[in-house]
Each structure stands twice: as structure tokens, then as C-alpha cells.
Symmetry: C2
Subunit: 142 residues, 2 copies
């Protein structure tokens, strides 16, 4: 059964990144992983599933496969984030911060910083760029 609202952006996004492992693959990519074996070693994911996930992410334009060759080595495949893939950091950070705050016995193994070292958090902001508490925000029909 397919969820409703075929073109709803959330449904499509969930369909893509809501699959098992996909979020974690993207996290490792953001943390610098590029090679098949690197993802495999860091996550312990089955190789056939990793193949499928990487293919889907390439297909959807979040990763590009790039063959490269270090001198004296045979060619290798690298999976590199695209702009769209890199932008998942906001979602990933939001999810992690939610887990930190609302799930028991968690540690945040990763923090997000600007290039010049300032720690950042994910927040709702209004049109003027002012932070709005999450409790004051509600969804409405489009």
C-alpha cells in the first residue's frame, strides 16, 4: 500500500530517506565516508542492502558515483554528496537533537558547527529570522 498524496513532498521524502539505513548512510557521508567499504565498516550494514541504498541515493541525486585513481592504485569508486545530499544535514541535526532531548539514555556523538567553530542548533525561525519556540508552531493545510 502506498501512502496518499502522491506528490506531497513529505511523503516523497519519507519514501526516500525513511527506508532502513538510509539516514545512517547519509550521516556517514556527511561525516566524510565516500567508499563502499567505508560505509560497510562504519555501519555494519549488509553489502547487498548497501548496494541498494547507494544506488537509490545516486538515482535520486543525493550522491554521485565518481571513479578516481590514486597513483599506482587501480581505480576506485567514491560516492560523494551532492548539494541536495549535503542539505540533509539540517534534517539529520534536527532528528538528533530531538533524540537527545526526548529519548532516554542517549548521548550525542556528533555536534554541528560552523566553519569558524560556533555550535549551532536547529530552530523554527520566522520571516525576519527571529527564533520561534517549537511549541508555538502548528501545521496547516497548504
Amino acid at each position: 500500500m502506498t501512502p496518499p498524496d502522491e506528490n506531497c513532498s513529505l511523503v516523497k521524502a519519507v519514501d526516500l530517506v525513511g527506508e532502513r539505513w538510509t539516514f545512517l548512510v547519509l550521516r556517514e557521508a556527511l561525516a566524510g565516508a565516500t567508499r563502499f567499504s567505508e560505509f560497510r565498516a562504519r555501519l555494519g550494514i549488509a553489502s547487498d542492502v548497501l548496494t541498494a541504498r547507494l544506488a537509490k541515493l545516486v538515482d535520486s541525486g543525493l550522491l554521485v558515483r565518481r571513479s578516481y585513481r590514486e597513483p599506482g592504485q587501480r581505480p576506485r569508486d567514491a560516492y560523494c554528496l551532492t548539494e541536495a545530499g549535503r542539505r540533509v544535514n539540517l534534517v539529520l541535526c534536527a532528528l538528533q537533537e530531538w533524540g537527545d532531548e526526548h529519548l532516554p539514555d542517549t548521548v550525542s556523538t556528533v555536534v554541528y558547527r560552523t566553519d569558524d567553530g560556533r555550535r549551532v542548533n536547529v530552530r523554527f525561525v520566522d520571516g525576519e529570522g527571529a527564533v520561534v519556540p517549537a511549541g508555538d508552531v502548528h501545521p496547516e493545510q497548504g
Copy 2:
């Protein structure tokens, strides 16, 4: 196979909300759904799966089950968001905005507003509350 970093907040969060349907169930809850049949009708989810998802969300403290009775009606079960559950709106909004921007052929069926009607977006902000572009933000070890 279980992902690594047992207590990593992101891994735990993914384990919970990363299951098929869970995000969409939460979206409907945020949009006002409370009853079993309401979730079922809006999502078209199989009833046994919905039973499992609701149970897990109650178990994890994102929903509470509350029996209530309208006058002249028999008692019904309602699944109501807790504070932790309501706070998922930030993650949901981030994911939807990402989809709007980076997936083709999407429409955003939902917008997020403050109680007084201002539209809001999800952004990285630094310690002073200043918005930081997502491209300037990177994850770091602990």
C-alpha cells in the same frame, strides 16, 4: 544487524521514527488525528501495522492512549501527542522543506505557522540566535 553506537541519539531516533509509516502517523497526529480509524482512513495503512506503530509510539512516550466518551456514545480510544511527540514537528518540517527544495515534482501540502499566523521555516541558528546557512555547517565528533 543492529547499527553501531548503541546510545547514539540519532541511531535511537532512527530506530524509532525511521520505521515505515511512523513519520506519517506522527504527521497526521500533528494535523489533528487521534483515533485509530482516523489514521487508517487518512493513510491507508494496514490495521495490524497501525496497531504496532501506535503501540510503539505509546511505549516510547510520543503518544498516550486516552479513553474518552462523547455523551450518548460508547467509549472510544484516542491517541494524543505528548510533549515529546509534539516536538517532532521540527523534524517533520525540516524533512518536508528539504523535499520541497530538492525533490522534483513535489508540492507542499502543509505549511507551518505560529499561533498568530506568521509562516516559519527550519534553520540552523548559532548561540546568539542568528541564522546560519546550512552550507556553512558541518558535523564533528562529539
